[in-house]
Assembly symmetry: C2
Homo-oligomer: 187 residues x 2
């Protein structure tokens, strides 16, 4: 496969740099709002849709609507119609670090040949079950294991992953937290 | 549709309470590890798989492997092969609050007829683009809008949602943060 400078790692670096210049010239273009819609199906089973978002000054939509079921497995009194919500969080972290890695490698002229990762989260369900007030509801810790191969020395490849972490939106919200407001229409 | 006490809201409350009793008797059964696996495809496009997990003392697997693509839309220099990673986070939060709501309503004898939600997250991409060091990488705030209908007064329905928030694993990690360790195999 022959890649050009404009398509290193499948990243259109010319457009990437042009986008950076455009945002430098008009910083308000970088104000985005992402959204997920959800409808309860039955029991712990719900169905989410991701389609619309706001960015670069206007309402936008993905090229198609993405639909994802979530559920609990039988061992957690569900019917396993989809992953658990907490597993989607781990998926999001892996995908964020990977996308950033590809962009950063392309920008720095490194050709990647393989990127794989596993994200594991340890959770004590005594928290959400309300059985032990000293146990938190969420993960106690998360471990990301990355394998990265490419045409650069190991230390340079490692630095690319570190830089991706330093610029990861999901890593930021998971490690630093984010204010969440809940509005309820009950009736 | 005739529901029995054991299947209120599609929740098997007998099994739910039996599970609570089992964990009370053997708290270590509640130690779970969830995992997501990810493989880079091209550019900002990656593919995640959710299949194996540990819980109730042994390695387990979902009834099937769940596969999810993630990507950036064209406006963010991707090819829109899937939602962005940050959208998966919003989906996870909606699904977690909804599953908890159904369980809690069932346990309290409330029959739900409708649960819908939208989760919106505001993000300034000057952060991840590295253009403004005063801007964080992740969401600046997240707003959850819930619509809940059922056979209880509005205040009781509202209290169910509040209790779901109080016991939500995803709400906890997003609002309070979680330690994340990164291990890199580079070569």
């Amino acid at each position: 496969m022959t890649a050009t400078v404009n398509d290193r790692n499948g990243v259109d670096t010319a457009t990437l740099f042009a986008t950076l210049d455009a945002v430098k010239a008009a910083p308000q273009a970088a104000a985005f709002q992402f959204r997920a819609h959800n409808e309860w199906v039955n029991g712990t089973h719900s169905r989410g849709q991701i389609r619309d978002f706001f960015g670069v000054g206007e309402e936008r939509a993905h090229e198609r609507t993405f639909t994802f079921d979530a559920d609990h497995p039988a061992v957690l009194v569900g019917r396993d119609n989809g992953p658990t919500p907490v597993e989607f969080v781990l998926h999001a972290l892996a995908a964020c670090l990977t996308a950033g890695l590809a962009n950063i490698a392309a920008a720095r002229g490194v050709r990647l040949t393989e990127v794989r990762s596993t994200v594991a989260g340890d959770i004590d369900l005594n928290g959400i079950l309300g059985l032990d007030p000293s146990v938190r509801n969420g993960y106690q810790n998360i471990t990301v294991t990355f394998t990265v191969r490419g045409d650069a020395p190991p230390e340079k490849l490692r630095a690319l992953v570190e830089q991706s972490r330093a610029r990861s939106a999901v890593f930021d919200v998971l490690t630093n937290g984010v204010p969440v407001t809940l509005e309820i229409d009950a009736g």
